[in-house]
């Protein structure tokens, strides 16, 4: 067999499948020039296909090895401090406007998610998992776990949000006549995190820098505001 038990029960399986699937996806994307498609999407489908086609392999067996890669999300989040410090000048010059913009974005985000989920009849688990959907994945997972959501479901929501953002953000903002780079960068970073921000790369360096700052600040403000705002929303709209 291609997947003998000795392989499946060793961390080698999860680590190798993750890295091979991801680099193969990167290769396919550069080979066929499918620009704009994050490698995470094809590689997720590949890993899922392996697990779904082999009923004898469980997700736990995969995660047994993949946890080593999953662990690095923590250090990667901490590493986001570097781009933040590199953009500190723009941040300082527009500090009060940026911070109030982020608070507006977070309040609008958490409230709109809560109201929409209630209107469309989402279950409490799904509602809580949707709350951090605009935050960059590692922080979103932490927030989701902290407020009682399902972190893996949050990841799915975060990724779908990012894909949607990467494809429509600039078109929507242009449609509404928004031209200021600081406004565009901040709104994109706050609504669709890193995936949406990747679409700013070929537009303007200022948009990219502001979006980077916005991702970090949205993470911080959502993790503070969401747990405080949720009980209030639950009282108003049970």
């Amino acid at each position: 067999m291609f997947f003998p038990d000795i392989l499946i029960n060793s961390p080698l399986f999860g680590i190798a499948l993750t890295i091979v699937a991801y680099s193969f996806s990167e290769f396919l994307i550069s080979r066929f020039e499918i620009n704009g498609l994050p490698p995470l999407i094809p590689s997720t489908l590949m890993c899922m296909a392996v697990l779904l086609l082999h009923p004898n392999i469980t997700y736990d067996q995969y995660f047994n090895g993949a946890v080593f890669i999953h662990f690095l999300l923590g250090p990667a989040t901490i590493a986001l401090a570097l781009p933040l410090i590199e953009n500190i000048k723009t941040l300082k010059e527009n500090l009060s406007i940026i911070v109030s913009g982020i608070i507006v974005a977070t309040l609008a985000g958490v409230t709109s998610i809560y109201v929409c989920s209630k209107i469309f009849g989402a279950s409490p688990d799904v509602l809580l998992s949707l709350i951090p959907k605009s935050v960059t994945t590692p922080i979103a997972m932490e927030i989701s776990a902290a407020i009682g959501g399902i972190p893996a479901l949050t990841v799915a929501c975060v990724i779908f949000t990012g894909m949607l953002g990467a494809s429509i953000n600039h078109k929507v903002l242009a449609l509404f006549g928004i031209k200021n780079d600081i406004a565009i960068g901040l709104a994109i970073g706050a609504s669709s995190h890193g995936l949406g921000t990747s679409a700013c790369a070929n537009k303007s360096p200022l948009q990219l820098a502001i979006a980077g700052v916005s991702i970090a600040l949205t993470g911080i403000s959502t993790s503070i505001i969401a747990p405080l705002l949720l009980p209030i929303l639950e009282k108003i709209m049970p």
Binding site: G14, T18, A21, Y22, P38, P39, L40, L51, L52, Y59, Y62, F63, A66, I69, H70, L73, G74, P75, A76, T77, I78, A79, L80, A81, I85, I97, S100, G101, V104, A105, A108, C116, S117, F120, A122, V126, L130, K133, S134, T137, I139, E142, A146, P151, A152, L153, V155, L164, G165, V172, F176, A183, L186, A187, S191, S192, G219, I220, I224, P227
Partner: protein, 123 residues
């Protein structure tokens, strides 16, 4: 991107994470530890306690390949396929509507705030 700097960089980042996790655990706080780590790291970089050179390589690697680090968690979706199927309308409608609300509210607020400040500056 020397091997020595990579090792030194990851040592610094792991040490910061260690301190963050321990501190939050002692306080019994639910605040995400990596986020506290990011704040602490920002302060240390800003005050030049840690030089940018010593962490530049590892940060570039971690940020550049961040997509791969999400993979184990996103494969975890297969454990929740049934919930996603059952509540697909609620999930996707919420994501689409809320994303547009956040995008437009924030952009409009920023345009208004920046416009007002520039007007003041011009007077």
């Amino acid at each position: 991107m020397s091997p020595n700097l990579l090792l030194k960089g990851i040592a610094i980042i792991l040490a910061i994470q260690w301190v963050s996790v321990t501190t939050l655990n002692m306080l019994g706080s639910k605040f995400p530890a990596p986020l506290l780590g990011m704040i602490v790291f920002s302060i240390l970089l800003y005050t030049k306690v840690i030089s940018k050179e010593s962490v530049n390589s590892i940060c570039l690697v971690l940020i550049e390949k961040m997509g791969m680090l999400f993979l184990p968690a996103s494969v975890g979706i297969i454990l929740y396929l049934q919930i996603i199927k059952d509540e697909s309308i609620a999930i996707f409608a919420t994501i689409i509507i809320s994303s547009l609300v956040v995008l437009l509210t924030t952009a409009a607020f920023l345009e208004f705030a920046l416009g007002r400040r520039n007007k003041k500056g011009g007077e």
